[in-house]
């Protein structure tokens, strides 16, 4: 049997069910490795002691009918966990201990999973490199001083470094798919309304979705099956029949029509990414898929639209951080001064920038010019996809315009940081499901990903296409464990 922490979720659950491994052994293995991996800075808060107790409890009375029987899992620190500190990577929530549980994490525990701890992320999920976190940047296990992507950077690094078998992240403009691409892992953003947003620290409510981040496509289907559910507590949760994604997973994609959008060929895109895309196309053909050239004419307008819609919603959502009911408070002579000092000291620079953008575009006299305009362009972007999906079953693109970059390389130029999400943002604006799978490496040996985009609620189809491609690509991450200490 291979080393416990390098096993997939599928292998671990099989080994538990066949009684070859206990939950206690598995949990201890991940904790031991985490203790030697502090250099990566993936954990904001660990739950190790309780996790060991819970694993013993599971072993003394195991239920092998559950989908995640005694499996330890660390989650992004954006999910509220009852009794375990939840910070959203922000000073303003540094001391916040929720008294309730997010629906998505509750779904994990209901299927037998055990909380290992809370993973680092960009502050309020605003960032593409995990560098905006109040708790410091995260190292990408792929190479030293490399960003793990963001905002789910602690999550992507933890999966790639074998510190958790799988994890869940959130994706507002690419925050699951871009870090997955940067770390050679799999990340899926479900259709808007598939996973409940209840108990997730809100960023931009019309875009936010939780989703699985895993080592491979099969694990991804297993985890999606657990976290996707209809929830009365989220008014935008959609009541539809969800698939048994792992059971229906199939490499048979013969006759599937896959669209290739010409607008995703952007200026200055490295040749390696162009080549990666071509390889993906030829693998899809080998699997019997039909390749169709398509156009998504408003692609170039997606990022500017996103940088109006997301900050506008964020500025409204973050109005709740006033130092009154929970979180950090800075004292003031009067109520207004207390608000202003609390928010000034409690939020980091990127969050303040986005609140300011959002406040401006929603302010009197500018609403029509910016916010309304962006909502109209968002309609055009959605229509592009509607038109495309009348001809194809799925769309194949690169996940990101580059591989992982160095820590500090883009921190002084917000716009160049925003450009990271050029291929992922349109999917959030249109509410579609998208998955990033590792598809190759660049000249530095850093991973690169391909993205498969599907019709609303057609997660099964993009999982199947990814499953078929994964088999052909046969990606190996070959991470050297350079960060381990005794």
């Amino acid at each position: 049997m291979s080393d416990i922490t390098s096993q997939s979720l599928f292998e671990l659950t099989s080994n538990i069910k066949e009684k070859k491994l206990s939950s206690g052994e598995i949990t201890k293995a991940f904790i031991d490795r985490a203790q030697k991996s502090k250099k990566l800075n993936v954990y904001v808060t660990d739950n190790f002691e309780k996790a060991i107790d819970q694993s013993k409890k599971f072993d003394s009375n195991p239920n092998f009918d559950l989908k995640l029987p005694g499996i330890p899992i660390a989650v992004k620190d954006l999910f509220c966990t009852n009794g375990v500190r939840t910070t959203a990577g922000s000073k303003i929530l540094n001391n916040f201990v929720p008294t309730y549980e997010s629906t998505v994490t509750q779904n994990l525990w209901s299927q037998g999973a055990i909380l290992l701890g809370k993973l680092n992320c960009d502050e309020f999920a605003m960032g593409s490199s995990n560098e905006t976190s109040f708790f410091g940047n995260v190292q990408n296990p792929v190479g030293e001083n490399l960003v793990p992507g963001g905002s789910s950077g602690g999550s992507s690094a933890a999966v790639a470094a074998n510190l958790t078998p799988v994890t869940i992240g959130t994706d507002t403009g690419g925050s699951i798919r871009q870090p997955a691409s940067f770390t050679g892992t799999v990340g899926l953003k479900p259709t808007y309304g598939s996973c409940s947003r209840y108990g997730i620290v809100a960023f931009a409510s019309s875009l936010d979705q939780a989703g699985p981040m895993t080592k491979n496509v099969r694990d991804c289907s297993m985890l999606l099956e657990v976290i996707s559910s209809f929830d009365q507590k989220d008014s935008t949760s959609i009541d539809y029949k969800r698939n048994n994604y792992s059971k229906e997973l199939s490499k048979d994609i013969k006759g599937k029509k896959i669209g290739i959008p010409k607008e995703y060929r952007v200026d200055n895109m490295p040749d390696e990414i162009e080549q990666l895309w071509k390889n993906g196309i030829s693998y899809a053909k080998d699997c019997g898929a039909e390749i169709i050239d398509i156009s998504l004419p408003h692609t170039n307008y997606a990022l500017p639209t996103y940088y109006i819609v997301a900050p506008a919603e964020a500025s409204s959502n973050l109005a709740r951080y006033d130092g009154v009911k929970y979180g950090f408070r800075s004292p003031g002579q009067n109520l207004i001064e207390m608000y202003e000092k609390t928010r000034s000291e409690g939020f980091g620079d990127e969050v303040k920038r986005r609140i300011m953008i959002g406040t401006y575009v929603l302010s009197s006299g500018y609403y029509d010019a910016y916010y309304l305009k962006a909502q109209k362009v968002r309609q055009l972007i959605k229509k592009d996809f509607d038109d495309a999906f009348s001809k194809v079953d799925a769309i194949l693109t690169p996940s990101t315009p580059s591989s992982a970059f160095k820590i500090g390389e883009k921190t002084n130029d917000p716009v160049s940081m925003y450009l990271n999400d050029i291929f992922t943002v349109p999917i959030n604006l249109a509410g579609l499901p998208g998955i990033s799978i590792p598809a190759g490496k660049d000249k530095n040996n850093y991973p690169l990903g391909l993205q498969v985009i599907g019709k609303p609620f057609d997660e099964q189809n993009i999982l199947n296409i990814s499953y078929a491609l994964e088999d052909k690509i046969n990606f190996k991450n070959d991470i050297s464990d350079w960060w381990l200490s005794e």
Partner: protein, 95 residues
């Protein structure tokens, strides 16, 4: 169009985030760069386009108005920044 220092200060007031002059100047530069990038949307004529207000094409559900959680006062006050068992405490508001 460009955003001047006065506007930056006005927005910070609306957003209830106090900023000093040095920060305001830095933000002015950042915001102008970002808005230059956003202005690209003006290339598009959207006169006859309906704004997209909800991506999930569903109507909001009705539910019965009923009490589901009781005795949650302690839970709600648990994370209060200033200790008090019965209320949230803020600086004096009424003179």
């Amino acid at each position: 169009m460009s955003i001047d220092l006065k506007t930056v200060k006005h927005i910070s007031k609306l957003a209830r985030i106090s900023i000093d002059d040095e920060k305001a100047n830095k933000l002015k530069g950042d915001l102008n760069n970002i808005f230059e990038f956003i202005e690209k949307l003006n290339e598009l004529n959207t006169d006859n386009v309906q704004a997209l207000t909800s991506i999930a094409e569903t109507t909001l559900r009705f539910r019965k108005d009923e009490i589901k959680s009781e005795n949650i006062r302690e839970k709600i006050l648990k994370n209060s920044p200033e200790e008090n068992k019965d209320f949230f405490v803020v600086p004096k508001v009424v003179e």
